[in-house]
Symmetry: C2
Subunit: 350 residues, 2 copies
Amino acid sequence: MAVGAALLGTGGGGDPYIGKLMAKAAIAKFGPVDLLPLNDVPDTVEIAACGAMGAPTILIEKMPSGEEIGQALRAYEARTDKKIDAIIPFEAGGINSMTPIMLAAEFRLPVIDADGMGRAFPQLEMETFHVYGVPACPVTVADEQGNVVIIETDDAAKAEWLARGVTIRMGGQSYIVNYGMDGQTARRVSVPGTMSLAIGIGRTIRAATESHRDPVADLITFFSGTHYETARILASGKIVDVSRREQNGWSVGVVTIEPFDSTRKPVSIQIQNENLVAEEDGKVLAIVPDLICILEADTAEPITTERLRYGQRVNVLGVKVPPIMRTPEALAVFGPAAFGLAHEYAPLEA
Amino acid sequence: MAVGAALLGTGGGGDPYIGKLMAKAAIAKFGPVDLLPLNDVPDTVEIAACGAMGAPTILIEKMPSGEEIGQALRAYEARTDKKIDAIIPFEAGGINSMTPIMLAAEFRLPVIDADGMGRAFPQLEMETFHVYGVPACPVTVADEQGNVVIIETDDAAKAEWLARGVTIRMGGQSYIVNYGMDGQTARRVSVPGTMSLAIGIGRTIRAATESHRDPVADLITFFSGTHYETARILASGKIVDVSRREQNGWSVGVVTIEPFDSTRKPVSIQIQNENLVAEEDGKVLAIVPDLICILEADTAEPITTERLRYGQRVNVLGVKVPPIMRTPEALAVFGPAAFGLAHEYAPLEA
């Protein structure tokens, strides 16, 4: 699940190895966690979203204590005077599909098989929850020292702005609870099935590796049987440049891949925590919100942004996202223009 | 009162003209406010401190809506589940002795004749409240757009760090409620009488000006009858350089004064919102927490940090602060070392 979620995280959402350790430790301590299908969520249960915020380059050096996300939820419950019944990941990612499991284990709650991005995005307002009308606030932000900040604003982008500022002051990494809603709302505004999708992706990669089949071919077949439908290889080659820095609380930069096929031009991928747009010689191969997944060439393990290195052999997989993420309302919030990209959105399959 | 508090603000704490307008508008709208002597505060009343946070250079361009401080108090009451009975200024200053009046008028509460700094300081932990054991948190931070942030940490310096980060994200200016305590505690941890002291300072300046007497001489006489006891002129001269910038959410810099007495060397004053240390040729004339007040030469009106200009003729007045601000515990929190100054503390009168 951590590996599959890291693939959906398109570079962001955190390192799956650390995520796996965190979730395993929580389950060992508190017991197993139920995954609740989105359609089975009762109308009136109280749900909150959670995840880690910050630059993924920082997360791998600034490890969580394990207490943060629980503190964020306790502050959330105290502020809203509500008992939360179920947890939903605010995004899919190697860490951020695992933090909900940690939290759910500690509080003996189910995790809903869905999320608010259908992938990972770098900003808190880039949520289908926000696109379809759920207020982001209160947002509770906790760090490993026990500091907690509660943010209240009507404007989801302002909540992102303030929470990012707080996260920077917390050392570049924090843990967040936000987007409280009831079950009926969650069914309407969430990207369904992304946690079980992550399990399926991980299983596909593992099975292909164990049986010495081509994992990327198997992934493409696997996706064709899911609501993500279409996946295709955008490039196969070697990373010849990684330009990456921490800026404004994110990891931003450009990675350049030289294709093995010498008739093709270098492929560049712009990054803001996540992979935003893949271009070859000025031509867009794929662009947000469609997924751009950089996979290790032999194993198809997703390479998260902070692990990109010169010389890595990679396949870049493009994956179509479900219709709920491609409406005009959704593209207004997390389409190319929301990232300051000049390109029009062009569906992957077009 | 606004003018007198601006003098106590030693450059910081905000512009007295804007402060006066804010308080007058609130009193016109909501009615007059009682000033409650510190000794008359009942043991069990609930008290909260308030004021504006940010760089004074920004405040004069980013005017408050008038709603901020009330929002901060409503969030504070909601978070603590307490009804606040009285307001205490967290510092003395041209704005920050007035924001408590605005808040008290709106909520029909008394303002306590005392504060937590006995002057103005640039950081939230530099409070006698903190020195003598009152937790800073929760701290509620509000801006003119209705955004509210609540900070919870055991560490007053961390609360400052997080609130400053939030304030920067709010555009460099915010309004704060913090340091909740009961009446018995307030009597123990506050600098007494600073609001009526501000009124006395203002009256002294006005009376001297109206009767064409030397206002600085009258101020020195006035202070000798108060618990601040000693005031003396550190320098008289012309401002020949103002080096000032916004950095990390404060106005920082150095002002240089060329004395009219040509036998004296230039006097430099280091600033972090407030005037921290006055030196002549490397010799300390006065240093925090004692007051260093830059006064317009003819009128003795205090010149706040953001109003300092080349060519102004000024008297620099040093004022001794009361014993509660000079204990080893107090000097550890707001003595020279707390500002990174290499100098030892040297009492003004020594």
